[in-house]
Symmetry: D2
Subunit: 339 residues, 4 copies
């Protein structure tokens, strides 16, 4: 950590800072600058964020951290990319780009089975569908809950597709884990630390969505919560951040893909449906995500978007999805991957 003293800070103030640094178990190192002193504090600063409190001391201008605050998620700990095994044939993080597809909400047996068969035929490898739905309004459809999980399991039995579905509450996490192959943490729960710890204790792969106003560093800190509980199977999902732009529901931050690839060994997938909020833009952004290096996609598909209980405007019809899969195949090949 680097402590920047104010220009003209008193020697007494500097000495107090040096004393405090030593008290905290670090080795101080002073650089005398032209207008101010800068102090390096050598030692592992993670887990001791208390060092930040030095910012309150007299004569200190600011404190700059040097180390990244995450460990297990970082490439410094594990250089080779993690490959997460979902089933005997589905692995996320390898050369194959895994497409997960299905409706926003499970609405009934016909709907989920029909969709599962359609997305499988088009080449999807995982079925998505919400049973517990976190909705902005208490008056919106909240999901079929356990009944929805059972319908997802039925669709899996019929198609062989593993399922990804959302967990919204530590109290029902184990119930969801009985049915799901991948536990999804939604954007609004991305810093719900109680929930992150809970899924860290379950031994199922976790698809962690980036929160709407989360920096990439904070995103990795949330992954670290799951990893620190002993669950090494975390898949990161970029799904758009909140910005001033209103032409799209969120701003899909595709540059998060190369940034994450540089900083972490965990696989990265992209959700162009929530990322844009409009089915017209899903195709171009799905292709772009693959070109940028994503390991997978999660796409909303609904047989009748005009009558969907949620997120109709951003859902693709099965036929459009099949066309997109054909295009994805070509783009994937152009960057040396398969779909």
């Amino acid at each position: 950590m680097i402590i920047v003293m104010k220009a003209g800070a008193a020697k007494k103030d500097r000495d107090e800072v040096l004393k405090r640094i030593k008290e905290l178990g670090y080795k101080p190192h002073v650089i005398h600058g032209t207008t101010r002193d800068v102090i390096g504090a050598v030692g592992d600063e993670r887990g001791k964020l208390v060092l930040q409190s030095i910012e309150s001391m007299h004569g200190v201008e600011n404190v700059l951290p040097i180390l990244k605050p995450y460990k297990l998620a970082s490439k410094e700990v594990k250089l080779e990319p993690s490959v997460i095994e979902i089933s005997a044939t589905v692995r996320i993080g390898g050369p194959e780009i895994i497409v997960m597809a299905g409706p926003c909400s499970v609405e009934g047996e016909a709907q989920i089975v029909e969709t599962a068969e359609a997305v499988k035929a088009a080449g999807a490898r995982v079925l998505r569908g919400g049973a517990f739905k976190p909705r902005t309004s208490p008056y919106s459809f909240q999901g079929l809950e356990e009944e929805g999980l059972k319908l997802l399991a039925k669709a899996r039995a019929l198609t062989g597709l593993p399922i990804v579905t959302e967990v919204v509450n530590p109290e029902t996490a184990e119930l969801v884990a009985e049915y799901a192959d991948i536990l999804q943490i939604g954007a609004r729960n991305a810093q719900n630390f109680a929930l992150l710890k809970k899924v860290g204790q379950l031994r199922k792969p976790v698809l962690l969505k980036r929160g709407m106003s989360m920096t990439i560093q904070e995103f990795l800190m949330s992954a670290e919560y799951v990893l620190a509980e002993g669950n090494q199977s975390v898949i990161l999902c970029e799904r758009g951040i909140r910005t001033f732009e209103t032409a799209t529901r969120n701003t899909l931050d595709l540059s998060a893909i190369p940034v994450l690839k540089e900083k972490t060994h965990l696989p990265v997938v992209v959700d162009p449906s929530h990322g844009t909020g409009d089915y017209h833009y899903v195709g171009p952004m799905a292709l772009a995500a693959v070109a940028a290096g994503a390991d997978g996609l999660i796409i909303e598909v609904h047989p009748d978007p005009e009558r969907a209980s949620s997120d109709g405007p951003q859902s693709l019809k099965p036929k459009k999805f099949a066309t997109l899969m054909a295009q994805l195949k070509l783009v994937a090949e152009s960057v040396g991957r398969t779909v």
Copy 2:
């Protein structure tokens, strides 16, 4: 709801939209414009967000909602301001501006009791202190948990100050409610709907912090979750939103005060400590919040910020807090309130 058709949309498409609007139980009303048609759908659009799905239909450009999506929080339902009773002598939302103060985290008996006595002497009416701490890093101090709640209760017994403390998990919400006078929902849980429903079922006042990337409308929707469960005692807390500016930890959105006052009957308090992240700026922003019409403040005070387990840089020392209270009194009087 207003449905805007595309310029030159086919009559067939418009007729499909009209048919669908009627199916959904609304009465359509067509306005023929110079380049396009616009359709009004008359009926209560709340709780039927499915209308939004019309955006997926052919020939539709976009769908504009007219009604606000919240009811119980709105002034259309209740015009006079809500006054939330915390104890026999403390009420939030009345002419007195209520100052809540205390450390970010409860760290030990001496610390919390000393702080409680100091903030009481300076004029604070509620004691704040975290026992369960939601921290960005799994390696940071996570709070004393139940032990912390007991220490808060002790400080209350000694000073008479009611206490506000955070709830982070539906599983421990009842435990916290046994001790706390006000249940705080933190910014990172502001759209943790499972937690909002839970505190809606408990019969304790709730201090709901605005999420970092929440619009004011979404903030009111989260309040609506608590209200819809039957708990009418919700206090809204502006604590800064996430923007591109890095000179402050968040950007304290004081314009949220008059906006909320126009839209809701619920009281509004401001947290200048998290809102700025720097104790130098806490005083000016506290004064500004009162001038703008806030009903209360929640301020971090720590006897030894340089040694605080969390949020040292934004905590005031008791002496600075007392000076601020004296200034607050003058500003409150200038706008016809008391502290």
Copy 3:
């Protein structure tokens, strides 16, 4: 335009609004809702933004525009994509994806000529290079000015590559236009309307960068300024918007590509260098932009980035640029385009 009255607004207030709408030359149309009235104002609302002023009237809740505020840039005026002719062989907006490349600043003859030859050899079709530099700091290198323009012209003479360079001041716009093949308007001048009008009067293609905090609608309004002066050759350039994320210099908004393609006939290019600010991320984002449908790219290339006068950290070395061009070729083909 749609005028939403407040719930329970007086009949008198509504009648005043109706009267005012007629005064302004529109035909009003009232829809009686369950809790409030909504009034449609039929007529061309563009150029008469004064209608917005109705928002100040008693009993009015808000005013929603229906028409897009731009005309000449919109697809309603011109459906087929515009193809901008830069030279006998270079056209932007057609099947070929045009790559523009070169240094941030022109620093000297050897540097610009060497770079021009390298980027041409790799397949770039236009040379970029700044002679007048808008720099955040008055103490930073401000460009070689006319001398820089002459060096660009020399590099063009040697390589045959047309040149794109920035215009920063109406007073020097004509000078720049004597040398340049494309006039660039930088992000910081994207709402410098005096400059937009000036380049609208010159008869040279304009590369208009999106401002850092510009919505897509505002971006099109700035294009409209140039078009309205009679210059139809506008190329839109997405170069990243300002968000809370700090891992990248800006957040490259690739979803702007399909959004713009839906709304305008103008070609769209992407600047992954400024968009990310880090050469490690330029390649993936360039590939993604092409997959998403961009008509071109503008990329910073410098023979010695460690010694560049500006923007070294985001510049590619010629060898890395050549590798990227080979990858771009494959991705372009996968989406049916050429490079």
Copy 4:
């Protein structure tokens, strides 16, 4: 400047960095950390931003600046607050809070004279009014130009109020300076460096508005452009930044007041009209700005906002403005200032 090496960077890479630091005229200082080396580069880093280019070197993780990039605007150069003299009786930055008021646009003689007299009677000390208007749409009213300046001068002659009006183009800056007492640089031109240099050469006080997506540091850099040309009379104006919130036109960042007061000697005024975009919110935010320490306010007042050529929804009527002035007086006194 601090150069952070990658964990495990080669000694060769570090030596290259040390060599380059010396070449650039700095003295390097190595701190050997537990996982990586950190190098301090001692010397004045301003004006040599080229040091940033070290970020491109092998083995370098990132480069952290220590010094603020502005000099003349900083408190390190001048500790006591600057007081800008506008006329014999009007000074901005002293104990008196200066209120500037008037219409968004000058529309005609009756309008500007009537408004000038009304705001003077209520206690305003400066008259604002736009003659050259930067409008988002080329089809909106662009101002009366020189005719508007003459009308402003007439209003000044009648009331004695000095006038502030906007400059939008270096070519017309001198013309505006012939009439105006304060030259305003609008938010959209806040990084129009050609214009900043031009007003830096004129000897009139400059009211510099913060750009919509400008950090406070960049804001001070724009002030530095004016100061560096020799014009020391710069007044900073916070007018709202662009965020995701849409309930207000911009998000007025009042915390910019204490932050600027800490970093610069220049006076700070606030524009609550553009900051909120809604006249209902102007009053509370004006009071808050004064409580937070602003040296002045600039407020839009129009005798007939429903018929204003621009910005009607955010303009106060003269009667409401007079009421606000009475409240401002009380709040100003409560913080030891006058209005």
